[in-house]
Symmetry: C2
Subunit: 465 residues, 2 copies
């Protein structure tokens, strides 16, 4: 299946062929993390941990099961989730007194405890995060990593003395995200959602949206400002310097295994995965090209090359299986290894190693003596160019329009006066969802696509994956 | 509360005071992992990953929810668990067609998929593991880390061509465990359980038992030989070299957050935790002892000391808070930091650093110039001595008896003919559980405590924590 012809089928096929997940588990939308897929997820998790640890967040792990009465405390929140939670009603042979639900997200698990942890201004800011499994009873068609019912999930939850400090946290989240997305070679837009599309209970929601090759948007995560919406029902209060009791302001940041789906979808090609070097389980695969009578000499040289790179902490694999090099290339291209090093007698005579990039297919000869540096430089270059290419693709797929007639299957930028009625009408006429307005603003001068009123902030629309 | 006076109360208090977990979550037996407790658990998890990765196991992550019909396939297994599983019966507003249970352990989640993964002898051995949350509806009194309802769990699952290869795996498990327990300074006995006490579905079960200071045994984990007990109902078959189809033999190895409980219980003292150096979040805390007029000079020297140790990859923390050294000592003793380094003007004049061991309280002066080496040596010595002391305590608390009258609250070794009737009678008369016989055997010559028949293999008994 070709990516350009049927993106959706191509995606399903590549996920299966590269053995990133096993979808044959006997519950729909609950997939098995295979060793290869799980290693990629864990690499991304370790980047997340680094980013949040470095900014003073502390990792915690809260229980999965939430009592119904705790869940119901914030009214908007429960309304937003009541059709999509799983309920535990029995334990052993008996019904439970209080029903328990599997967390779809952890606000209602954490906040009763935050109310105990936060006492005084000295306890603030409270910056926590966790990496856990969450559950949503998706009724739409499921898709590996992108729409599943058990979700590997990252969520940070913070408490602040006031709105301004919570706003600083939101800005810090943008910065952390910037660093992470660079490692993952994922372009995105930070789009402030409309009021009718924000997270249940949030004061405002910022979607982290990327664009897939078929022109559909994919939400990679979201950042929320809650203000006092949760701290009031959960009574998370602190005593300030003057002895006054105040409610904390809260923020959250959530991302999920969709990140793996986005990497597959955006970078993969007809040969298979193309993994960003920072994520790749093996950054380098060495394939010795054995000639008759020279087998041992080439094998030994390949082993040396492997050891040298390994010592330099490059994630390298030597493929010394007894099979044709071509078959090995096929395997590692499917698996998405960023850089292949070929070594044959000709290379050895010239004192070089043949580098083959997975992303471009480009072949170059590099000096064997400086191989560690050459490999490092090349991996950095691949990473940089993968991101730049993906960002370029995304921008190319954003079309600015004045009218909502005959829209292409792309991301659409158009004028909106900001009124709710016009907003709904935009969604109806375009048959797309409004993703929102850029949080950083942008230069724009146009008119609302519905009422024609002049506006300086355009809105972004797309069909969601 | 003193450990020697009321071990149980002391344990509960120390867990709370050291802030290892928060038990105030509104579901009984489901506790919150606080940052400090979670870091300790993660350190142990990382050791587990190292140990299992190094022996060719691959990490996977299977879904949490298991359909009732899959769970019921192995009859003994479901009988063993049916009074202690949590049931998901509804999703959104509707009842589910097939009820789902929260994994108490993952045999029945994994094995339908193993049946798809294993095709030929080339797929064997299949060696996998996962670190996940599991659930058991405990009806006994819960206790932090030791008896909880949501359990942080490690489980390895392997498939082998035959019984012999599965037995080799069991031996490998013993070796991995040996390395891990050394890092954790935990002594244990490998005790083969009686037939009436083995894991539901197992051919045999080996308990990993340690002994707590109050004389009760604590099972840290278990290793199981399943033979074909699961592969038959789940149809995990492979084609051997001759084209014949055979059932695989399987083993598992499970451990849980109880490991944290064991470290607390065995090593802690009246001042707080005593953490083995390999587990400790901070291996070293530096406390500058500031004298009037010399504050800056001492602070700078403490900072240098910190930087030098950090560069040498020691996990070190500089406590430069504005409070009395004594109050800092109190804090870090509670937190269990293995080694405290004090630095004052007197130390500086002598060119030394004062080392204070957490486990023994012993103070020594060490040459400032060789501080990295001294710290490394001291941490290694602490680790070695913590294990030796704990192992000595355990042996001291094992009492060999001929008669089952007036047994002390210890681990008891006594003769058993091996007959089931005598076994039950031993348990009734001793009011203890038979833990089993040492897997490695031992020199012994005695008589069955019930029937008086001569026997060469003694059995171990204890009351379980």
């Amino acid at each position: 299946m070709k990516k350009a012809e049927d993106f959706s089928e191509w995606y399903n096929e590549i996920v299966e062929r590269a053995n990133l997940t096993d979808k044959r588990y006997p519950v729909k939308g609950m997939n098995v993390w295979t060793p290869y897929g799980w290693k990629i997820m864990q690499a991304m998790d370790s980047h997340i941990r680094e980013g949040f640890d470095a900014t003073g967040h502390q990792e915690v792990c809260f229980p999965l099961l939430i009592p119904e009465d705790q869940f119901a405390k914030e009214k908007e929140h429960i309304k937003g989730f009541d059709t999509e939670v799983f309920w535990v009603t029995h334990a052993g042979l008996n019904p439970l007194d209080v029903k328990l639900l599997l967390r779809p997200t952890s606000e209602t698990a954490m906040y009763p405890i935050f109310a105990l942890w936060v006492r005084s201004h000295a306890d603030l800011p409270l910056k926590t995060y966790q990496l856990v499994n969450t559950f949503r009873y998706e009724t739409k068609q499921t898709r590996a990593f992108i729409r599943v019912r058990e979700i590997h999930f990252f969520e940070s939850h913070t408490c602040h003395a006031d709105f301004e400090d919570a706003e600083r946290q939101v800005k810090e989240d943008y910065e952390i995200l910037g660093l992470l997305a660079k490692k993952w070679c994922l372009p995105y837009k930070l789009l402030k959602r409309t009021d009718w599309d924000k997270f249940p209970g949030a004061s405002y929601t910022v979607g982290i949206d990327t664009l897939l090759p078929d022109g559909r948007s994919l939400q990679l995560g979201s950042i929320h400002q809650y203000m006092e919406n949760f701290s009031k029902p959960y009574e998370i209060k602190y005593e300030d310097e003057k002895g006054e009791h105040k409610y904390v302001h809260q923020t959250t940041f959530g991302m999920s295994e969709r990140l793996v789906g986005a990497v597959v979808a955006i970078h993969g090609d007809d040969k298979g995965l193309v993994l960003p070097p920072d994520i790749a389980t093996n950054q380098i695969v060495i394939v010795p090209v054995l000639a008759k009578g020279e087998t041992e000499r080439v094998s030994a040289a390949a082993r040396d090359l492997h050891d040298e790179l390994k010592k330099a902490r490059v994630r390298v694999h030597l493929d010394d299986r007894d099979m044709r090099p071509g078959a090995k290339y096929f395997d590692w291209e499917l698996k998405g290894v960023p850089l292949r090093l070929e070594l044959g007698t000709k290379d050895m005579e010239k004192g070089v190693v043949t580098f083959v990039r997975r992303d471009t297919g480009e072949k170059t000869l590099k000096d064997r003596k400086h191989v560690v540096k050459e490999v490092r430089d090349m991996l950095a270059l691949i990473s940089k160019e993968m991101l730049a290419r993906a960002a370029g693709e995304m921008e190319k797929n954003i079309v600015t329009v004045q009218s909502l007639e005959n829209l292409p299957e792309r991301m659409i930028r158009t004028g909106w006066c900001g009124g709710e009625e016009c907003g709904h009408e935009i969604e109806v006429r375009s048959d797309m969802n409004i993703l929102g307005t850029l949080v950083d603003g942008e230069k724009y001068s146009g008119a609302c696509a519905i009422c024609g009123k002049p506006t300086k902030t355009p809105v972004y629309l797309a069909r969601a994956m």
